[in-house]
Amino acid sequence: MKFQMRRQTELYLLAIVVVLSIFLTVMNPKFLTLENLFDLLRNNSFLGIVALGELIVLISGGIDVSFTATATVAQYIMGVIISRTMVNSVLLAFLIPIPIGIALGAINGCLVYYTRVNPVIITISTLNFYYGVLMFISKGTWIYKFPPTFREFAKLKLFTLMSSKGVPFGVSIFTLFWVILGIITFFLLKYLPIGRKIYAVGGNLEAARRAGFNIFRIQLFVYCYIGLLAGVAGFVHAELNQMIQPNAIVGMELDVIAAAILGGASVFGGVGTVGGTFLGVLLIAIVKNGLILMKASAYWHEVIMGSIIVLAASISAYQRKLQIRREKGRFVEEQLF
């Protein structure tokens, strides 16, 4: 299918990523080493995974800010269970956070559907609730005593290469998680009826209702899906850091939304692709990484990211105005849109 506008966003992003990469490589050749790139993909796998969930919610015309609390609750319960029982199975540890994430997502989905209130409000409330209860019960205690396989798993790589200094490196297992989930999400959006219905609901909710789509089922699915991904991401986060701090993830909501929006998703729903979101996350990762390689203060990261978001949004707002002027020639719409 040809989606000209969307492709355009992705092409712009790709161009920016390429130009930025060339620039960084010139500044510091270390950037374009496989070692650095694999590292970058590994470190951003948490962000990448939850951004996929946010993408789906945004396409459906919703928004979710509670997924950080969901991820935290899911990983914390997992942490408590495996550190108490010391069951030496990564698979079991991996399977714990998923149903928790889905369950918390289902609560969001039901509330969004039944109250018909702006999902920002609903998920702010559940964010406060999930996180507040967790902090109350856990008293903020960190968990870092994990079974040995859980620790070993974090070092797992798809394949291992040797760097010039003789240090082994490779594509992390968590990058694979990210890629697989990306492929699943892509497949779901393009080849499953539910995926098309998510686009349809985001494009015109009333039309979807009239066409006979089950809105409840779609919204429930969407919020459960981000819950599921938050659960997986919670596991990945715990593995990457080898510890669970209840306050490590909450606060990242808006960064994730920013990644999805940079990737071409719209807060008004109906638009967004997996490829774009991937590039959005990549852009954020490269800027962060580049600053470190250039030995610039890491604090510039946010200044640059903020500028990119505002600039990108301004350009798209301006383009929309131009388009209205071209197509309708109506000043009124131009002033309002």
């Binding site: 409330s125 559940t126 946010e302």
Partner: protein, 317 residues
């Protein structure tokens, strides 16, 4: 006949909030064996409330206009940092009033930037202020390198910690600005135009309202109030940092909605906002007295908001 009136909904919601507040006060004073109503606890509430109160007032304007300002906390922090630097490094001889003036000017400048993007470039408010939030926080981080700037002169500390005839100065500031906002929203042309714009911007455009001016002023006002909040915040903590009070951001949205501001714009009154801020603070202070975690209070806030939302859905359909 006019069950759907936003005004009536507002009235009933404020009444429900007042009952909720009374119930909470009763419950809390019972649980704390009357400690909540002692002078010290009331003063504690009066000391803690102004910061959330002022930030919520800052959030109110953009929300009434149908937008949102995600950058108020970032703005407040940057303003605090500039005031702190002015008092401790650049112009220590010029004292607090100069720093405050500088800070408020900066907040107006930031407001103009936000107004420019939202009103003139027409970037959706949620995206524009999200980007600016990250940008402004970044500037603060670059300036402070993540450190805390602390140790302010005495006269500045008076704002957040002093009292005037037993009433905390900061509370007086909050009360003054609440009254100011009340007058602005209900007694001026700007206020009326803001509500009408928030309900239906097309109709205001066709009625000769300068929509862009209304939106621009809304974000200017919001930033200014964030600047005022920043004085209270810096003074109360006796410190400034890039990421203080970030948990307040979503809380201000919550307080607005609880107080009757519709997320789609066009409704909400200062009275409702004030009651909702008091409720949130009573819960926080009461829990503190009971030795409960502040996080339990935050969980309860979430439940209260969901309760109000469900209440509205059940009563008004």
């Amino acid at each position: 006949m006019w069950k759907n009136s936003s005004f009536k909904v507002g009235d009933i919601q404020i009444m429900a909030l007042v009952f909720l507040l009374a119930g909470l006060l009763l419950l809390m004073s019972f649980l704390t064996r009357g400690k909540l109503l002692e002078i010290q606890s009331l003063q504690a509430i009066a000391f803690q409330l102004p910061l959330l109160g002022l930030l919520t007032l800052a959030q109110m304007g953009p929300m009434v206009s149908g937008g949102i300002d995600l950058s108020i906390i970032a703005t407040a922090n940057l303003v605090s940092i500039i005031m702190a630097l002015s008092m401790t490094r650049f112009f220590p001889s010029l004292h607090a009033p100069f720093a405050i003036l500088l800070g408020l000017l900066l907040s107006l400048l930031l407001g103009m930037v936000k107004g420019f993007f939202v009103a003139l470039v027409s970037v959706p408010a949620i995206i524009a202020t999200l980007g600016l939030m990250i940008f402004i926080r970044g500037v603060s981080l670059v300036i402070t390198r993540g450190y805390v700037i602390a140790g302010f002169p005495r006269d500045f500390l008076f704002i957040g910690n002093g009292t005037v005839v037993g009433i905390p100065t900061s509370f007086i500031i909050f009360a003054a600005f609440a009254i100011f906002m009340y007058i602005l929203l209900s007694r001026t042309r700007f206020g009326l135009e803001l509500y009408l714009f928030g309900s239906n911007p097309v109709a205001t455009l066709f009625s000769g309202v300068d929509n862009r001016k209304v939106v621009f002023r809304t974000y200017l006002l919001s930033s200014f109030l964030a600047g005022v909040a920043s004085c209270v915040m810096a003074s109360r903590f006796n410190a400034a940092q890039a990421d203080y009070g970030e948990s307040y951001l979503l809380l201000t949205v919550l307080a607005c909605v609880l107080g009757g501001v519709s997320p789609s714009g066009g409704s909400g009154r200062v009275l409702g906002i004030t009651v909702s801020v008091i409720i949130l603070q009573v819960v926080a202070t009461g829990f503190n007295l009971l030795g409960f975690s502040s996080h339990l209070a935050s969980a309860l806030w979430g439940i209260i908001l969901l309760g109000v939302v469900l209440f509205n859905r059940l009563v008004f359909g």
